[in-house]
């Protein structure tokens, strides 16, 4: 009999403890996600705003730009990503793991940092061009292609390709008629993820875009915070949700149609490249490494470039925002660093407490728990801009006028991070053998005591992993923060974006210095999480 379906009824946790773990995440979700989201949708269906927004040619221009830059970014990422994917999935070579880690490191970087890195890399004439945007999107998302397609490619039985060769197909024909069709579902999956990311691109476009090159997300922000057109911004948010809804439905349909049953080769047969292969693999790996490292190196290099030659001026002046004696810039670089650390700390604590309570509730409530599980995943599928904007227009009237509250930014970050905590911890908690608790009960432990002795220890490691992810997410969060940040309490990404918008070499260099700090912090946190995870296994 399946123990899970027939939980140990008399040994269940007492009602009060269930309420204690269910109420906080439910209330958190209702107040900070459901309510703002509902307010936003209600605003989006306002007849006046609808006709105003769709009557404006700018709306269609923004929509068109959003679609075509996403399509172009996706195509380029797939094409450029195919060579390194082939290399890492088919071959063993020194530096293979390093390349994969490097790609992942870039993928987890805050969007604003990647934008800044391209400003640093490209000459002034190009740094606000469409090429900068496409380049940043490609470098950012290469990891998606390499991971998603590589996972299938390295397990494609080599004998399927051999069979093609024995039937007279040349290597190119084998690739086109055997390999590529078999990779198609994974390519489609990677393409839809990259399209989703680039369609909702915000940080990269804020840094690298211009007034004529705005995505829907950036236009929502501009309308809401710069032009005060809340209705128009809400309409655009709903438009984006509709487009994304259609896209997700379409891709899942295509996925289902093109999926084949494959006998995956579980023992991957990666070999050292031989002869001519060595050059091709070397070239693929070399070019990819250059693509992902050059922007980051440029970031560091430009942070060290002063008015005359290399210097540490930008780094040394991070605590000083005086332009001239008596005249101060409205950005405080060092203050932003402190704000970011404090915000990340609060957001992490919040995400871990709410997420931790949620997983206990979800695993104990059984079927009812699924509602909470699904609900807490929703922020993951909602763009941060939508979340921030929703909160901005919801919490603007007393007694809920919280816009000036210091805690609103950490709450927004916490909301974005909770799904990561829940997903990390839920799997682990579900795999805990219920018999352990039964054993503890037979030894005289009360339900709460038995739970604490047998289940709690398993929860600590995934919660630590979740905390790391939450901290990394909060440090780089830019979308929601753009709406919720109060002046004087800017976080690092906000400060970087502002400094980059200033003329003056020193401000740019400061922005690059802050980006370097943020990049290193993010990469270190994600590496720690990774190491902790692999030790746990």
């Amino acid at each position: 009999m399946d123990e899970r379906r027939h939980p140990l009824k008399p040994n269940q946790l007492p009602r009060w403890s269930l309420i204690a773990v269910t109420a906080p995440p439910t209330a958190f979700l209702l107040v900070f996600y459901v309510w703002p989201f509902a307010t936003l949708i209600a605003n989006g269906f306002n007849a006046g705003s609808l006709s105003d927004t769709f009557g404006r040619s700018a709306t269609w221009r923004v929509l068109w730009f959003t679609v075509w830059q996403a399509a172009a970014s996706t195509t380029l990422t797939l094409v450029i990503g195919l060579a390194p994917t082939w290399a890492v999935s088919r071959f063993s070579f020194p530096g293979r793991r390093a390349l994969l880690s490097m790609l992942t490191a870039v993928f987890v970087l805050p969007t604003v940092v990647v934008g800044a890195a391209f400003v640093a890399l490209l000459p002034g004439s190009l740094d606000r061009s469409i090429w900068a945007i496409l380049g940043a999107h490609v470098v950012f998302n290469l990891a998606v292609v390499v991971r998603a397609v590589g996972a299938v490619w390295e397990k494609l039985p080599a004998d399927l390709e051999h069979a093609g060769a024995t039937l007279g197909a040349s290597p190119l024909q084998v690739f086109l008629r055997v390999t590529l069709p078999l990779l198609r579902p994974s390519l489609a999956a990677a393409a839809s993820i990259v399209f989703l990311f680039t369609f909702t691109s915000f940080g990269v476009i804020r840094v690298l875009g211009t007034a004529n090159r705005a995505t829907l997300e950036v236009e929502v922000w501009r309308r809401a915070t710069q032009l005060g057109d809340l209705g128009g911004a809400a309409v655009l948010t709903v438009l984006q949700l509709l487009v994304l809804g259609v896209l997700v439905a379409w891709t899942s349909l295509v996925q289902r149609r093109t999926t084949h049953v494959l006998d995956m080769d579980e023992s991957s047969s990666r070999q050292f490249p031989k002869g001519k292969e060595r050059w091709v693999v070397g070239a693929a790996v070399g070019v990819t490494l250059m693509l992902v490292t050059a922007p980051l190196l440029a970031l560091v290099e430009r942070s060290l470039r002063g008015d005359d030659g290399y210097s540490l001026v930008a780094w040394q002046s991070l605590d000083n925002n005086e332009i001239r004696p008596g005249l101060r810039l409205n950005v405080d670089p060092l203050g932003a660093l402190t704000n970011s650390v404090v915000t990340a700390l609060l957001a992490t604590i919040l995400a871990v407490v709410i997420g931790g309570a949620a997983v206990i509730s979800i695993t104990t409530l059984g079927r009812t728990g699924r509602w909470l599980d699904t609900g807490l995943m929703l922020p993951l599928g909602t763009s941060a801009v939508t979340i921030g904007f929703g909160m901005l227009i919801t919490f603007d009237t007393p007694p809920f006028d919280w816009r000036a509250s210091w805690w609103l930014v950490p709450v927004g970050h916490g909301l974005v991070a909770v799904p990561f905590v829940v997903r990390t911890a839920l799997g682990v908690l579900r795999s805990v053998d219920l018999d352990l608790r039964a054993a503890a009960a037979t030894l005289g432990a009360s339900p709460v005591r038995a739970w604490r002795a047998t289940t709690l220890p398993f929860l600590l490691r995934p919660l630590a992993t979740g905390a790391g992810l939450a901290a990394a997410i909060s440090l780089g969060e830019f979308g929601a923060t753009s709406f919720l940040s109060r002046s004087g309490s800017e976080t690092l990404p906000i400060a970087i974006e502002r400094l980059l918008g200033r003329t003056g070499r020193i401000f740019q260099a400061q922005a690059f210095a802050l980006s370097t700090i943020l990049a290193i912090a993010t990469i270190v946190i994600v590496m720690l999480v990774d190491v902790g995870d692999s030790r746990g296994e």
Partner: protein, 206 residues
């Protein structure tokens, strides 16, 4: 017809084939028997060009093919677990080589049906690969290899994984098809009974 001369192959430091030679006449079916790890499959892969030997030569009809890539050797292979293309139908699999060779569609359809009839699967061209029984999949694999009209056909334990009854029926059928089409073949098996039933000659690897 097929001459394997003095072939050696090794993986890392393990010698799998040690100065091995083998001759197969035109139209002859040679069974290659030997215990697991004796290098039967490796030898087939060397002949097909999927593994490069450390030394030795492979000649087909007097032409040295040792340096030729697999797709130019005209050596067909039936793989141990069929390796049917999961994204193609039965007809698509059988017609694969014909399509590669550039045969016009109408002619190809006719030829595919002819081959399916030969292996006893007439009318199954449109069937999905994952809807085939074990025996049917093996028949499709045979038809697919025969479509390329290879000079030599290599069969790597082509009847593994079938129950005794089906194994015996298919063994008789496949042997008859090879005989009927005068196919030059090497049939790898570890089953001496199977070897005796299908082959004109048995070679043993130790």
């Amino acid at each position: 017809m097929l001459d394997v001369r003095d072939v050696s192959a090794s993986f890392d430091a393990t010698v799998v084939l040690d100065h091995l030679s083998l001759h197969v006449d035109a139209g002859e079916v040679v069974a290659l028997v030997g215990p697991s790890g004796s290098g039967k499959s490796t030898l087939l892969r060397v002949i097909a060009g999927l593994i490069t030997p450390d030394q030795g030569t492979i000649t087909v009809n007097g032409v040295d093919v040792t340096g030729l890539p697999t797709h130019r050797r005209s050596i067909g292979m039936v793989f141990q677990n069929e390796q049917l293309f999961p994204h193609l139908s039965v007809g698509g699999n059988v017609g694969f080589a014909l399509k590669i060779a550039g045969m016009p569609t109408a002619q190809r359809i006719g030829k595919v049906n002819e081959l399916l009839e030969l292996v006893g699967l007439d009318g199954l061209a449109k069937r999905r690969i994952d809807n085939l029984s074990g025996g049917e999949a093996k028949r499709v694999a045979l038809a697919r290899s025969m479509a390329a009209t290879p000079k030599v056909l290599l069969l790597d334990e082509p009847l593994t994984g079938l129950d005794r009854d089906l194994h015996d029926r298919l063994m008789i059928d496949v042997a008859a098809i090879l005989d009927q089409t005068h196919t030059t073949a090497i049939w790898v098996t570890h089953d001496h009974g199977e070897a005796a039933a299908v082959a004109n000659r048995i070679e043993s690897l130790k």
